[in-house]
Amino acid sequence: MNEQSAHAGWEVVIGLEIHAQLATRSKIFSGSATAYGAAPNSQANLVDLGYPGVLPVLNREAVRMAVKFGLATGSKVARRSVFARKNYFYPDLPKGYQISQYELPIVATGTLDILLDDGSIKTIGITRAHLEEDAGKSTHEGLGAASGIDLNRAGTPLLEIVSEPDLRGAKEAVAYLKKIHTLVRYLEICDGNMQEGSFRCDANVSVRRVGAEKFGTRCEIKNVNSFRYVEKAINYEVARQIDVLEGGGTIVQETRLYDAAKDETRSMRSKEEANDYRYFPDPDLLPVELDESFIEAVRQTLPELPDEKADRFCADYGLSRYDALVLTASRDLADYYEAVVSGSGGASAAKLAANWVMGDFSGALNRDNADVATARVSSAALAGLLARIQDDTISGKIAKEVFEAMWAEGLSADAVIEAKGLKQITDTGAIEAAIDEVMAANPKQLEEYRSGKDRLFGFFVGQTMKATQGKANPAQLNDLLKRKLAP
């Protein structure tokens, strides 16, 4: 169903604020490590703890990564950007302010193309992307009535990517979110791990009557940590807002929290309760001044971007747009695919390789919750399997069985074929002998077939395959059967 028609008469307006944790080894303003999952407060030094007298020192790597993002989205990379303090009190915010960027962000006004369900391309505006530090975490587990604070995450570099309110439905929002997710991983600036919180998003959602000029009052849904929840949270919120408005009510500008267990959003705080953050330029940090040579050096490190890669896959491999997009959704998968193609005969194997990489291979990854880098079947091994299909050693059907064995045992295709005796029978005599046996064993069906019951042909194919343990070359089997069964 079209997203718009689901809410007749209403237009949905969404803008996303994405927080991508930058994959630096140390924090944005201190030398502490950023690794996930360490013992609480073991990765927090005096700077992270906000001790009296300590000072922040900017991690240049975080700047480089932000610039990379800016260049990849055709954004304006600011030659001069300024860190500002966002002041508020919270136990997981050690200094009582977060160092962020406010008036002069490092990246401004870019765009990103997304593919809609109907196959059309939509350009989404990127308002800005700025660098900031993450806060710590409050923990309550196992502490009785007390609360604990883990400051390992405090000071982790984030790139906050803010979109224009250009998204017109939950599906568009998710498409945009996935596109950014793909991009930051291509650029190797974020690991994209949503469970661990290294890629998360807040959604600003409002609705207005179709044709209305002014935006409706928006609500911000905080920290939704999976693509599915983003879609569900937005859909819930859209339905809620339309309900309120159609019931004659008004939307209150507020921050809402998505509760995945109940599939609903709940009010967290209203605008009136919102903090006055008293932003001002951080006097401990100099403005970030970037010269052309730095920006140019970063540009040289840009990889082939997902859109460029997808275009190339369509052109070079004759893939459909859809297949190209699926295969380029991650750099690892695209690299894997290209390795399989080149290892199994080049462009002529491109479509076959696409089907296998998108099909059985991706299926196995999902099933085992594995990733491309640690897959049990290497690109070379898969190329070996495809070579055996192409040279008729095995059929496509048998190949699936071989693939599962390869995945389970880490063997090459040839080793599995050899060990299981799965080599295809292409000896005409052997196939004919099997057909003769089947015909002799099924005189009644033979007679019915010959008297015109054509659909029994499949029965004979199945029986003969069974007699050859599936190893008969299917095309040959068809030809021989047709000839032999003829009255």
């Binding site: 906000g50 007298g53 136990p91 604070i149 008293r278 100099l286």
Partner: protein, 486 residues
Amino acid sequence: MSLHTLSVAELSASLGRREFSSVELTQHFLDRISSSNPALNAYITITAERALADARAADQAIAAGTAGALTGIPVAQKDIFCTDGIRTTCGSRMLDNFISPYDATVVERLAAAGTVLLGKTNMDEFAMGSSNETSWYGPVRNPWDLAKVPGGSSGGSAAVVAARLAPVATGTDTGGSIRQPAALVGISGIKPTYGRVSRYGMIAFASSLDQAGIMAPSAEDCALFLQAIAGFDPRDSTSVDRPVPRYSAELNSPIKGLRIGILKEFFERGLDGPTGVLVNAVLDQYRALGAELVEVSCPNLPLSVPTYYVVAPAECSSNLSRFDGVRFGHRCENPRDLMDLYKRSRGEGFGSEVKRRIMTGAYVLSAGYYDAYYLKAQKVRSLITADFKAAFSQVDLLIGPTSPSPAFDLGAKVDDPITMYLNDIYTIGANLAGLPAMSIPCGFDGHLPVGVQLIGPHFGESRLLSAAHAYQSVTDFHRRIPAAYV
């Protein structure tokens, strides 16, 4: 022998010749501290054991021939500098229980230079004050007259040097906190260029204005110690990576032909009393030394005080947010909930002047007022900086009074913050523009010392020190010691 009357250079030479040991020298100052500090209240913490250990190490270095110019010289640290394993209070109840787990860069460098840490000096709470009366540890008294204030915020450092309870002390200057107390107790004090000395480990009051410096009897002593603390520090992004001149070697640079600007705005109003007379006498002295004196104007300078009292509180309101009772410092008893913890910990931990500035700062940064106050103040700040820049295209140094009057009575201005703030009228400009400035003693108003201020262009410390040294070569005000401490 009166070890406490010797200059740093003399002490260093005598230590080198083994005329006395650093342990003996240190013990001499510790004895003076024991007898005099109770009345002066100038030290918050006396680190006698640490001092003697430092002194023994210094004596070994001297014996081993590895000593530097400052090895074995005792020093007092303003209690705003974090000292590893030693209580660092910043003059506040908030940090009464705070043992710093690390050394400030200034502390680290002075330790590396072989100096001996005598203790931590009293100060206005979080360096907010001009009389040392806002300290949680009570006011420091002026060694020249115990009924008078020593100035602030580095009042403890000023008093220990004036009373010779330490040969040298560190100070910090955000709006005059080294120069004004130096003037009020009759010693020399230098606030270097912003970025010349690392702020790492110096508890922040107003980050864009704070600068560490040296307080000592003479410019010569200041030069020796500034040498040890100046220079780039990668841990402070605002410290400047630029070579440090050899201050002592340049101390005798010729003064003949030096162009000194008489800051018109400083002499126009309120300088007709004894302070004005004394400062004018300094102008004559410089003329006699061969300097050329010309009048220059910084027309926006009279806006310094209101500008400062927007910028500094704004930064302090944010800098002091980390004192929340959660990780360190004062925490209230039995908080009911988080808000109660914040409110009572901060309410009990901070004194009224600190609270006044936090509230002022939060106000000037708040939505709807930011443009009218903070942003406007930053614009005026740029104008003042530009005025100074224009002035320094005509002259090498600027001269003016340090403080409108000599030391005033304890309690005289505590209930009138505006009058108190006007004490900084001559000193704030250099902070707003990030310029180096120094106060040196230039005479007495009755029994109370008066200071004169020299302001230099960015990184002009060497010129400031040599000009001050030239004056001190022909005067002896910097050698005067209050009778009770001779």
